[in-house]
Amino acid sequence: MSEGYVVRNLRVCVGDHVIVEDISFTLSPGEIVALAGASGAGKSMSAMTPFGLSAGVASGSARLDGIDMVGLPERELSRIRAEKVGFVFQQPLTALTPHRTVGQHLHEAATQAGGAKPTTDVMVAMLDAVGLSRPEERLAQYPHRLSGGERQRVLIAAALAHGPRYLVADEPVSALDAALRGEIMALLVRLCRERGMAMLLVSHDLAGIEHHADRLLLLDSGKVAESGSAKQIASSPATDYGRRLMAATPRLSEPLSPLPETGEVLLEVEGAHVHFPKPGWRRGRLDAVLDASLTLAKGETLALVGGSGSGKSTLGRAIAGLGPMASGTVRWQGELLPPRQRRSAEHRGLIQPVFQDPLASLDPRWTIADIIGEPLRWLAPDAERHRPAQDLLEEVGLPRDFASRKPASLSGGQAQRVAIARALSANPEMLLLDEATSALDPLVADGVVSLFGRLQRERGLSMLFITHDLALARRTAHRIAVMEAGRIVECGSREELFANPQAEATKRLIAASG
């Protein structure tokens, strides 16, 4: 019996659509093979369909230890999964059954292939091995008590509980906080190496996997665009697609590209505090932003970087007048900007937001022209609104005839460009970009980032760039402010910050992104 997982000429269809065409690869025992590529390239489909865990139908062959899984009935596939493979999914928040405790999950996982019932000590050891703190307490906890990172550790422990030879990890870290991604990925790789497991890794984040995988397959529209050793593809991709993917992925090691000159200071924020009442009956408040001060010059990009919950979005919203601010001042060219409701239309026009989820921020019933024209609604009569909308579409790199379409017909990247055009139609001096590229595919995100660069050069826009991605901040921002637990712990030019990081939070972020 030949060991390993051998996929030959795999083809996956969903209904009449061919999602994956003619993919072949081999996963030898103990090896880590990564499937990477833009979204919609068929990565997850190729990984999951042979195991019967997707809506697709596979043809070709996929031999696991000599047994061809293509065409096997669900009963047999189920047995193969239970005995030989562990799975880790993208969504740790929802992949655990809400009414079952951590211990019950581990118990089920350990006995799935008919193994012995695990004792408490064994289960504690499992949690310990995935680096979960206080493992004894965790066994009796329900999943909603755990954070995303903790849940992913539990899922990894469950995936390993029956001692599988193979691990299939579908975007195992992309739903996690930036600071955690590197850590969890390293944990997965270490466990594979220690236990001699082979891992099939699906990820869109090339920077996150290129050091870990032995071999890499770049998928493009359901086909293999390039494959080979991960090191070689990362350093010198052979195909145009590979080169574009590599260039689109920001890295801390890349040389700094020049940014446009900046002018005089426009925005000054001093001592901003934001707090929310604590939910529930008990009184108390949750300090989201504490004593935050920053400045932004004309044509400058300031990146606000931090983990989730660090207060970066809350601060951004307070500055733009979209969220509450308990105390502190926001000045624009020396003039005091009142807090949210009392801000005049002109003041609101100065700072325009672009949000993370482009489709959620566009009204699905409106045409693109109406969406873009909304800020102009009472500045210009109806007939005149159409032309600026089309000009703006052109400025953000979309065809003029998009004006009559509705948001549902747009891709994520196109929708984000429409959201940018809407922000521009108010003729702002500054854009608030709240994770504006993090929901997008790497290639698309890179296009949107270059659009921001062009807009900054052409319009002299100032930008507050909120992101969790330090490498992206380094690529796009003149200065970087690092936030942790509601405070700005460090702020400096991108050169200084990386040459000589001061705050612990900065050092941790740099280490996690490296």
Binding site: S78, F87, T97, H99, Q112
Partner: protein
Amino acid sequence: MGRLIARRLLTAIPTLLAIIVLSFVLMRVAPGGPFDGERPLAPEVRAALEAAYGLDKSLPEQVWLYLTRLAQGDFGPSMVYRDFTVSGLIAEALPVSLLIGGCALLLASVLGISAGLWAALRAGKWQDEVLMLGATLLTALPTFVTGPLLALIFGLWLGWLPVSGQNDGGSWLVLPGVALGLPVTGAVAKLARAGLAGELGADHIRAARARGIAPLTILRRHALRPALVPVASYLGPAAAALLTGAVVIETVFGLPGLGRYFVQGALNRDYPLVLGVVTLYAGLIILFNLFADLIYGWLDPRMREG
């Protein structure tokens, strides 16, 4: 758990008070009174009656009087059924309503949930379509249609079951119970189906499938409890409504339940009777919502907090 119950019972007191006071005032604002008949009463008789029932006092005084009596468990005398207390009327009628409602509830939960789950497991197939069509029909058919229809078929044509009144065995319960329960059964079936069908596509089910767990075990262990949350939230208030009497069913099957007092009390402006029934109904609603919340907590531990 204990704290949740205590807190909910404490917040129930102001809710109940508000309901009672509001019903009291609304009823007085409505034109007419308990002693308005075809033939007007002599003014002296009317004044004597009003004094006897305390109707000559100011409205706040009356409310206060009613509440102090209620606190001692006294719903007061009926103003229309002379010589009967409201407590007496309710004590006589409530068991009948509880029995019919209980039957209906049992039918709705057992048949409704099993039909819904069965349909969800065959989602998209013809069995599912047929069952859901049936469930929609059941919810759409009013009890004044199904009640007489069932009586006609099983009582008059087939002669299997009694169609009117009570008898010594339990057979008198079947037709009214079924007629009352059918619309709720349909609604429960639809909710259970939607709940489970949605749950079966959830990430944690895929994760369990990835572990190679047997389909039936996945259903029992991972899918069932979250799938029943919408059913629980619907059945709580529905149970209160079923148990406190259904005037249509009681009329069709000639049963002395609570429902008719609700209607007749309101028509006759029998203030204490209506208030008594409203208070009972409100109390049951609050109680069953608490039950529903406790069941939620069991179904989904996330609901145990806050």
